[in-house]
Each structure stands twice: as structure tokens, then as C-alpha cells.
Subunit: 365 residues, 4 copies
């Protein structure tokens, strides 16, 4: 389905970095979910560049809800949210039109679209499109909160600096929700910012790892095999161009361990089935087991750097050099966090709607 | 779509470990693809347990093609392949029906299906279903080979022993295709087998990492955002219950690197655009760039171990102990490899059919 | 999705008329639905040819359930039902391989599959595939009955003879469920059989109109626009090659009437909202209004006739004549009725599962 | 997929009659298709009310293309077209909020959305949404024309007045493309307008039958069973709330005929396989046979009439009366014609893209 993701709750993305607008249509959300423009604006603010560690292309991200919301609540019909592109600066890109920026989708877009693609600023492959994903995700995040399901991500690692792991998941998520730079250990956060600023100084960039947790999800969510929870969430996450890896629970860390070490032993916590340890990340056989769902994403260093790089001219089919101008992020990991939360929320809304029906997330009758 | 995966070429899985059969329906493959029963049997043999490092439940995996093949070639209509379950031994499971085997889907299946699930041997969540996936994948793998596209996986790491990385991808894939225990360095392979055998001896198990490469794929394959190549392949891979992580290219390894290190610089190789290095795993913006597609999967240690483990009785909602009997694998990584190849092949057939149409993979007019 | 139909409850068909078997996979049905092999056999009997008014190719239609049913109930995982082809007689077809039987899919299959299609007896386009649809539909019909939703079809018209219309829908459906030749007025039925027998005598065939009613469906089922109830049901019905028209309620009959005549006026029947008249066929804006859902299907005369017909040889691209041999139906309408019920049931199960979730149709917790 | 239709080329609709805008996202169209704003405007003009035979709510239908078009051509990425709602008059609807307008979706929307629906002017179920469908369809229609495939619909019957049938399909389609009131026989058209005007005078409304033809389509398009051409087109057509019946070729007209009469005999026309007669409407087994695809839609009389009607108050659950005010169409059939063309075009683009791949409809490499 190309730019559409989901079965019962689905999102469709559109837009180019330097076109009139980016936007999203969310279909299948229950009627009666409160839609708070301030919360959406707040989520967009979490995605927006800020300070010395981000691009100087700062946009207001004024969004407009064109449909699907009436009297402050979802109607149950498709919600279209549009975010006009305002601060675009197209002349930065025209000179380098046929030069493949290393790590970017310029050349692959050309191979796919034969030159008809809007090449300015990455076009449809631009991270700009995640602004629409974030606005849409905000509605999903709010819907889940209404059912006691909370999602939070922190920068687990950035430029070699590590944050502490999740401990009290519920409380950690609560704390993260207000932070612009999402770390659990603020000292680590300051070091990360310094690393990013230093990379920016050199005209270089850094990447990192995001760790995400979901709490409040009941056991038994997810479908067998192809629409299992891991497949659905990973499908969504890998849609973000900068994400190159996804692992649930211990993931790659314990592949060398023994089964006796890896297995999460079940025990009762009052009347609730829980596990000691969470190496499976809250998911067995692709279906939630009632423990927090935990996963990590590898975010590659942002490919836009100011150093001169070897490349090719794909019109002329010859070697070339490229030196980027314009305004670029030395890191996107602190901005990507809210995008990951959004994708997670949309994925979960979809699986929950499959399990419990159209109305479950909403205001009911 | 639950047990169905793919858009233009899609596969539907069915079956339970101890039911009459497992099977798959592949729909959308081009007409005119040769279907060689021996090749399918060979692929199934690669998945079958063998020696001291596997379960003693060895099945012949006699498959029957019920539809979609005529005069040795695909017709273009759905191919149903059925593999009867022969060597099943259901009494092993009845005593422990309400005890959640740690790391397995028993409890999550119960939470989802309320006790109606076929609990014997993992039921529909059993790795047994991957036999059907392997048979179906064999048809897809053969179709891709007909177009010069080759897939191979090796055990990159198992129980702490590492194989060498891919070097000459085309040649390495060729070599791997004949090996029952898929390593590039046979000495490493022997050490891995020893580690697996030692774990078996202790009643324990090991996991590992599979590395997969695809060569021959043209640039420009994959759809933007949600049906991009990474999303589609990862979606398929995470359907395998034992896979807990997927990373493309350098993935998690270089998240602490600078962009100037991570970026794959483009250059011309004759008239072909290539990159120096392949940290992006052959994919930019979700679309193939013409380099080998390379990714790794984290395969968790198989959860069936013979040590006594704490668990719960989910009927009685009380703590319990479990001691597995029956026949189990001390490792599945050497068997999972052909499953990963199959999923990759089905994913690529789908994306190629979307791009080039129904007939491209087949015999043409 | 080609041979797959449905979103939350979906069916995948496979098989060729003269291949090893036809079959279906039904995915997404709730766990805990009783599966009665006798009921499935009974539904297949309703589809089976009989007497002088049908083909002499009579098959036992022995079906086998390969998965998804355990202890007599659905598990919630995919149900694969296979019906082996037994009484096939492939030599009847070989001589006429490149002659397009008028009204059949021989030529269009060739245009699509380039000659790789299994041409024997219509191959994958054969009505034989509807045996699998019927077996699958039986499970869906039983599930709906468990929730008080009943479906029935009668031969509204055949060869110029008309049956009476539905009156007491619930009672009429009950009566029809036991009839092999589904008419509400048995005298009309005898006349229809005579017309069919007379056509058979001449080596000719007849068609007709099926009228279907559903009672017990709550108001509010169906999705807006593209997954509305009319679209979903019609999509399914038009998959049957012989069905060339579908109309809901008054459909084409009252297109020349005024709005004041067509409109169904609402009124209260106790605490229930009902309409006087049902020109809209129980559906407004694509969503059920609580009245019986009523629609009609145009079934074209079966194209297999014994008269010599002009045609082309599509290998040689020249004019030719064809004279069919083999065993053919002079009418399929009395057999198609249970196929229409099956498609309707599968469509409704899908829409109900979307609305009320996975478990609603089943045994619950 | 609720408000999304299509597999490879798909459209997503959003918007409410009295919300900020209606719109559509078309995804999967090939890169390089010319997008002519004047042609889109012309198609919208064909849908716009005019003269005495339409509502006085006339809107400019100023559309804005937010994405997917660059330098006047499709890029291959999603095209979002938005049409702001300008001439809305919401006070007309507030008094009658809980009164079910007969024939409308007010009550069914309430049953589905529990009162959260935007009830003004039919909300998301309003015919207003077809403006977006028309704009999107215009792009698809233009793409098909570029490949020699033409679509045209005429008012076959309205208020008892009949137009002549298609004769020279290609020429008839050409003539229709410029007509605001789409009839082949202008005298019949004048009589129809008189009938509509007379109904308007009485505060009543009329319906009719649209007949559509497609020429230039190659043989072999359509998928077997569920994504066959009839299923796909009918699925799309039935999404229009006013369409209550769809028939291909002779449809219901010849259900009482013999097979020997109904069958379309094949013959050669030079090197092309054609049929004498076209009772199958250009489709056999759901796949195009190279003849014109012909079908008819039953358009019910528009339910908005000015006569006092019995109804219910669905808040109070009691009988009531309703007398509509506001601005309504005495007929929509002349406006629906371009909607039918649009749906047909989108359906065909989807099936052609499945068959021939992403690039076929576009500018190529």
C-alpha cells in the first residue's frame, strides 16, 4: 500500500519537502476521541529543530485539520491533517540536482521515478514528511492514553554517550513526555548535546539509538504470523529513512546467550501473569504478554554533512564531488523520538482495533 | 492481513504443529516460472533437523502441490503447497497444557484465543509452519534466480563463535546454497556445532545471528515510506517467532559513528553507479541502490530447554514449575537460514511485481 | 488481493477444475465457533448437481479440514479446507485447447497467462472453485446463525418463470434452508425445472435471477465509502464468473420513480427504528439500517451449450467452429444460490469483525 | 480499507460536507503523467450543479494540489487534492439534527458513530465528497487517454425517458466528453431536463440509469476471482451512496434468454479477436476480452425532497415528521456521470498497474 500503513486504523502520508504542504490522513480511528490542538502542537514542537544542535530551518508547523473532527472529537471518519511548508528555500538544491548526496535517496528516487521526482530537499523522502506523521500520531497517542496505554522513547545512546535504561517504565515515560531532549539521565543528555554541537562544528553529524517502551497494553494483542506485533511495529519504524535497525527486548545483545539465560520466567504478581526479566520485550510469538513492550531503533548519522564528498552525477554517469550548502541537522535522533512514538501509537491503535473493534478506543455509545 | 503477507505477490500460511498439515498459498507469481520439485525438496532438507544439533523429530516433509502448477510451470494462479504432519507425538504436550513454557507463545495464544487454540506443540505458532514457508519460498527463490537475483544467508554468529563476513557476495551466495550448515568459514562452523552440541548436552540451547545478502537486484526497487524495501523485508522476517532483531547494513554497529564515516560514497564502476562501502545495506530511502542488499537477524536461543523452569499455570493463575519433555532443538539458527531466504525472496518478488508488473518474473509471452 | 477477499475475515481461494484439488483458506474468524462437518456437507450438497437439470459430473465433494479447527471448534487461526477433484475427465478438453468457448474465460485466460494456464475444464476459472467457497462459507454461515443472523436466497426468476418475492423474511429463509431447489413457490419451482430440462433437451441452457435476504443484522454495520456494505457484498458476488449484475433493494426497478415513491419512510416499531417499504434494501449510505438486507443477482445462462458455435482458434488467430462435448449444466442458478449465501456470509463476517472485533462471532472468553 | 480503494493505484477520500474541505489522495500513479489543471476544472464543472435542474448550492470547486505533481507532471508519489468547502450554510441542518431524512444516511451514521458524526448536510456521506473523487479521477482519466483508453457515460434513462444506446463507442465517448448533460440523443436530453424540472417544481426528485463504456482496453486485464474487473469496478461504483445497482453487458436484461442467445460468438477482425454482440460487456471470467467494457448503474431518485415525510426522531426514539429546507438537487444523475467515469478510471489504472507495473501509465524512462 505504498504510503498507507495499517489495516483497521491506517495512515496515508503525502507531501514533498518543498511542495505546498505535507499531510496525513488517518482512517479508522474510533468516534469520540478528544482531539486537543495544543497536544498536537506540543508533539510537533518535540519534533521541531531547536538550539545549536539542529538545522536553522525552523518552521512553525501550523497544522490544519481538514476533516474527521467535529466539536473537538473524532467523528470516526478520516482525519486529514495538513501542514503547509513555509520556510522553504528551494534555490539551495537546484545546482546539485544530478549529484547524488551520499546516504540520501536522491539517486534511488531517480532510479525509481526517472527524473520526474521533486528533487528539492529530498522531496517525498524528506524527513519533513514526518511532521505529518507526528501530527497524526498525536491523535493516536492521545487515544491510547485514554485507555491507559502510554508510550515513551529516550535517546539510549548518541555519539558514544549512553543514557540509563528504563527502570520504572510508567514513571520514566511520564517524565520523558515533557522533555524536549529525551533522556532519562540529564547529565548524559548534556554530554550528548555537547557531542552533537561538536559534530556540527566540524560540519559532521552523529546518530544514535532510541529505546522505546509501552506500558498498559493488555496481553493477547497482535495477530499470528504476518500481522504480529513485532512485524507491524517494525514495518512502521523502518519507514523512517534514517532507521536502519529494530530490535525487541534483548534483541542482538543476547544472541550468544543460552536459552536458560534468555528465557523470561513467568510468575504471578497477584492475579496478573508477569515475567521476571523482559528479554522478549513483552512479546511472545508476536503477541503481547502483558509486560511492557520494549524495543530499540538504530538511527544512522544524518547523511547531510558539510564536508566535501565524492559522489556521481547520475545524469552524466560520471564521478563528481559534492559540497552541501543549505541548512541541515547535525543529528536527528532527538527529533526522531516523537516520530517513533507516533508510529508505535498508530501500530497499536490498529492492532487494538482489530482485536476489540472500531469503537474500543473512542467515546463509546 | 494476519496470515497473509504481500501485495502483488502474497503468501498465506496455515496449519498447526499437530494438526493434519501445514501449508501455504502463494498468489500473484507470474505464469511460466519453472517449478522443480527437487529444488523444493532440497530447500526443505536445508530446514530439516539433522545430526546431534537438532531435534529427533525428523519428518520427511513430503509436500504436495495442489494447484497453480501445470506442466511443471506456474500458471499464474494461486499455488497451494501442503505438507502433511506425520511424525507428531501429541501425548508429550497434554500434561503441561496450562503451563506457560517460558519464551513460547503458549500464554499469549491463550490470552488471544481464550483456550480454543490448538496447544499441542505450539500449534499455529510452531516453527513447523516455516516448513510451508520454505516450500513456498523455494518457488520464489527459483523465480528470482531466473532473473539473475540470488539470495544467501550464513550463520554470522552462534554461541559466541563468529563466521567471516561476506566478501565476494555472488560467490559466497553460490557456495552457501549447497551447505547444510551455512557458514562461510567451515572451521567456525565446526566450532559452532560443538557449541550447539555442548548446549544440547546440558539440556540448554543457543541462538545467534544470521547475515543475508541479495545480489543482482536493480536500483529503484521498493516503494516510498510504508512499502519500502526495509519495511517489507523486516515485516516478513519478524513474523518468525524466534527473530527478535533486524538490521540493514551497518545497522546498530555504527550508530555512534560520524556521518562522514557512515555515508557510502558513490562512484562509477564503468557505467554502473556503485558505492564504496555498504553501510546502508544497499538501500537508501527504502529503495534499492543497486548494491547488494545486506541485513542481519537476531535469532534468540530456542526457548525449549530441558532444565526445570519456574512458570505459571494460566488456568489456575498460580505459580508452577515446568520440565519439558519431548524432542526439541538445541538451536534453530542453522534451520532458520532457509526460512530467512524464503521470506526475503517472497518480499522481493512482491516489490518487483509491483514495479514491473505481473509477468516480469515469469516466462513472458 | 487477487484470490483473497476480505479485511478482518478473509478468504483465499485456490485450485483448478482438473488439478489435484480446489480449496480455501479462511482467516480471521473468531475462536470458538462450532464447525459441524455435516452442515458443511449439507451446504456442498446444495451446490452439487442433481437430476436431469444438472451435469452428470457429480462429485462426492469429500472435504478435508487441514487446519484451524480443534475439538470441533475454530481456533481463531486460518482454516484450510481442501476438496480433492475426483471425477475429472481431462480428455474431453484437449482437442479444443485453442478454441475459445463462447462466454467462457478460455480466451481471456490465454490473454492473461500466455498459454501457461491450466486450460482443462476452465482451470482456475471453473465453477468448480465455488465448491471450496461453499465449504468455507458454511463455516461463516454457521457463525452468523450463532449470532441470530440468517441468510437465504431463492431463484426469483429462471427461464421466464418467476417465484414469489420474500414476504416473511425470517420464515422464508428458514424454509429455503432445507430446499435443494430454492424457490418460495414450489409450483413455480416445478415450472422452472421443466424449462431447464427442456433447454437441456435442446442442448441449450438458461439463466435467471437470485434474490437474497439477510435478517437479524444490527443497524450501523459497514464502513463509509469504499468498504460500505454494498461495495463489499457486490465485490464478492461479482467474483462468480456467471454473475453479471447486482442490485440492492429496488435497484433498477424504480430508477424511473420519483423520490417520494422511492424513499423508505422511517417509523418506530416499538423501540426499534424500521422503515415502511425497503427500496433501499436495508442499506443507507452503505451502512445497514436494521431492516433486512435484500439484493438480487443476474446469473447469465451457463455458456456451455451443445450447439455448434462460431469461434476463433486463438493460437492460429483464425475463425473456427466449436462443438462442446463433456458434461455440462443446462443451468447453474439452483447451484449458485448456496455460493451467493456463502459470499454474503463471508462479507458480513468481515464487516462485523471490523466493527465488533475479533471475538464477537465466536465463543468468547 | 474503509475510505481507501485500490491495490497498486489507490485513492483515499476524506472530508465532510460542511467541514473545511473535502479531498483525495491518489497513490501509485506512474511518474510522468501530465496533470492539466484545466482538465481537472472541466471535470469538476461536469459535476457541478447548473440551471433549474440542480441545487442552488453552486460552489466554485477551487481545488489545490498539495503534493505529487512537479513541473506539471506526476512525480509518482501521492497526489493530494483538496477542495475547500465555501458555500456552506450550516444553519439549514441544525433543527433537524435527530430526524432521520428518509433515504439518507443520517440514521445509519448515528447507529455507527453514536452521535459523534458531523451531521451537517450528510457529513462524510454527502455527495460533496464526490467532488474530490472527480478531481482525482480526472488525473486517472487523463493518464488512460495517454494510453488510448477512453471512458464515457451517458444518461441511458431518466424519469422514464430513454436515450439511445451506444453505437460507435469510440465516437460516442468523444461526443459525450464535451457535453454538460450527457446524452447521445439531444432530444431525449431535452425531455429528461423537462422531467427533472417538473419534479423540481413538485418538490420531488427523479433517478435514472447511467450507461458507461470503455474502449481501447487490451484483453487480459483483471485478476482471477476477487480482483476481477467486474468486482473491482462494482466495488468502486457502489461506494457512491445513490447507486443501488450495477450490471455488466446485458446484465439483468437477458437472464431469461437461452445460452445460445446470450453467448457472444468470437470471430477474427483482421488479426484481432472480437465478439459478435457484447452481452458479456467485454469481460469473461472477470478479465477483459478486448471488446468495449460496458455497464450500467442504477441511480436512485435523490432522497432530498421538499414534501413533508414521516420519519423518526432517533434521539427520542419516537415517530416524527420532517420537511426539508435548504438547497437540494431534484436529480443527480447528470452530475453522477463524471463520478462514475472517475471511479472507472481509477479502477482501470489499478488493474493496469498490477498487470504492467508502476511505470506503464506514465512518461517512462
Amino acid at each position: 500500500m505504498k504510503n498507507t500503513f495499517g489495516t483497521n486504523v491506517c495512515i496515508t502520508l503525502f507531501g514533498e519537502s518543498h511542495g505546498p504542504a505535507v499531510g496525513a490522513v488517518i482512517d479508522g480511528l474510533a468516534p469520540g476521541i478528544e482531539v486537543d490542538p495544543e497536544f498536537i502542537a506540543g508533539q510537533l514542537k518535540h519534533r521541531r529543530p531547536f538550539g545549536k544542535i539542529s538545522t536553522s530551518r525552523v518552521e512553525e508547523d501550523c497544522f490544519e485539520i481538514l476533516s474527521g473532527v467535529f466539536n473537538g472529537k473524532t467523528t470516526g471518519t478520516p482525519i486529514c491533517i495538513v501542514i503547509p511548508n513555509e520556510n522553504k528555500n528551494s534555490r539551495d538544491y537546484s545546482e546539485t540536482r544530478s549529484l547524488a548526496r551520499p546516504g540520501h535517496a536522491d539517486y534511488t528516487a531517480y532510479a525509481k521515478y526517472h527524473g520526474y521526482e521533486d528533487y528539492r530537499g529530498g522531496g517525498h523522502f524528506s524527513g519533513r514528511v514526518t511532521a505529518a506523521l507526528t501530527a497524526a500520531g498525536a491523535v493516536a497517542i492521545a487515544a491510547l492514553r485514554g485507555k491507559g496505554i502510554f508510550i515513551g522513547s529516550h535517546i539510549s545512546s548518541c555519539g558514544g554517550v549512553k543514557d540509563r535504561a528504563f527502570e520504572d517504565v510508567g514513571e520514566d515515560i511520564r517524565v520523558l513526555s515533557d522533555k524536549l531532549f529525551a533522556v532519562l539521565d540529564d547529565d548524559a543528555g548534556e554530554k550528548m548535546k555537547a557531542v552533537i554541537a561538536a559534530a556540527a562544528e566540524e560540519g559532521d553529524s552523529v546518530g544514535g539509538v532510541l529505546e522505546t517502551a509501552v506500558c498498559g497494553l493488555p496481553a493477547g494483542i497482535g495477530e499470528p504470523w504476518f500481522d504480529n506485533m513485532e512485524s507491524v511495529i517494525a514495518h512502521g519504524l523502518f519507514s523512517v529513512p534514517g532507521i536502519k535497525g529494530v530490535q525487541f527486548g534483548a534483541g542482538f545483545d543476547l544472541t550468544d546467550a543460552k536459552g536458560s539465560v534468555f528465557n523470561d520466567l513467568y510468575c504471578m504478581d497477584g492475579s496478573k501473569v508477569v515475567t521476571r526479566g523482559n528479554n522478549n520485550g513483552g512479546i511472545n510469538g508476536g503477541i503481547s504478554n502483558g509486560m511492557p513492550v520494549v524495543f530499540r531503533c538504530a538511527v544512522k548519522p544524518t547523511p547531510s554533512i558539510y564536508k566535501k564528498q565524492d559522489t556521481v552525477d547520475f545524469f552524466e554517469k560520471k564521478d563528481a564531488e559534492i559540497e552541501l550548502k543549505g541548512r541541515h541537522d547535525p543529528a536527528i535522533i532527538h527529533r526522531a523520538r516523537v516520530v517513533v512514538d507516533s508510529i508505535t501509537a498508530l501500530s497499536l491503535c490498529d492492532l487494538l482495533a482489530q482485536r476489540f473493534g472500531t469503537d474500543w478506543l473512542g467515546g463509546g455509545i
